[in-house]
């Protein structure tokens, strides 16, 4: 669990995934946030978490494609012509941030992010970290960005 504390200029959202895995909650939340810019995910096991989130992410993508094929609403069709290419070109990585700084969704440990703070619009914290680490890791995020903290972890 991450203590409550002020991070200046940012929104904070605390989430409890309940009985479902964090990866499922995170993939769905990621759907809106990937449209806002880069995303970083703090986790103890970046490779494992990436695989789990990606699997859930494909379910979200399938839903979007189903919506695209079933709708007759011209506005929705136009919207999905913007969103679907973004899905296809989204780059997920569990490499260290120094090795692949241009990824759209970066999974890394807190130690790696402290070395290379993410410049992202959304940071998900999916493992316990200290408040001072949270402050440091969010220091390069633009104002009004979002930090999502998973409480059950």
């Amino acid at each position: 669990m991450v203590e409550a504390g002020i991070m200046h200029g940012l929104y904070r959202e605390d989430r409890h995934p309940g009985s479902s895995p964090i990866s499922q909650d995170l993939a769905k939340h990621l759907y809106t946030r990937m449209l806002c810019g880069k995303v970083a995910i703090v986790t103890e096991k970046p490779g494992t978490m990436l695989a789990a989130v990606r699997k859930q992410w494909m379910n979200v993508e399938r839903r979007i494609r189903r919506e695209r094929s079933s709708t007759l609403d011209a506005r929705k069709i136009l919207e999905l012509t913007y969103q679907l290419p973004r899905f296809q070109t989204l780059v997920f990585t569990a490499k260290r941030p120094l090795e692949e700084p241009r990824a759209d969704v970066q999974f890394a440990t807190i130690e790696d992010f402290l070395e290379w703070p993410p410049q992202c619009r959304t940071l998900y914290v999916a493992c316990p970290i200290k408040l001072e680490q949270l402050h440091m890791v969010t220091s390069w995020m633009p104002p009004h960005s979002l930090v999502v903290v998973y409480e059950a972890t």
């Binding site: 200029g9 959202e13 759907y31 449209l35 810019g37 506005r75 913007y82 440091m136």
Partner: protein
């Protein structure tokens, strides 16, 4: 639980509006979503999050409407969801 902190240059709002159903919601029942055409953070009822299709389709409808607003304002329609804007450091206190 959900929204527990607002940026300190904004007056914390007691009531938010759900971008999906239009209902008023307190921050502890909200989840953050997209930016609107004016670049403001929007929220939705956390309850929608668990209604699989409602959540995703709701945001698609919202984004479609905001993208039209962007186009009518003569801006690049891609700017709504390309995560644009430069990055810079905030001061850490």
């Amino acid at each position: 639980m959900p929204i527990t902190q607002f940026p300190d240059d904004l007056v914390p709002k007691q009531i938010l509006v759900c971008a999906i159903c239009g209902q008023l919601i307190p921050p502890d029942k909200a989840t953050a979503g997209l930016f609107n055409a004016d670049n403001f953070q929007l929220f939705a009822c956390n309850a929608h999050f668990w209604e699989s299709n409602r959540f995703i389709v709701g945001w698609i409808e919202f984004a479609a409407q905001e993208r039209l607003r962007v186009m009518h304002a003569g801006r690049d329609p891609g700017s709504l969801t390309d995560g644009g804007g430069g990055y810079y450091a905030r001061l850490v206190s």
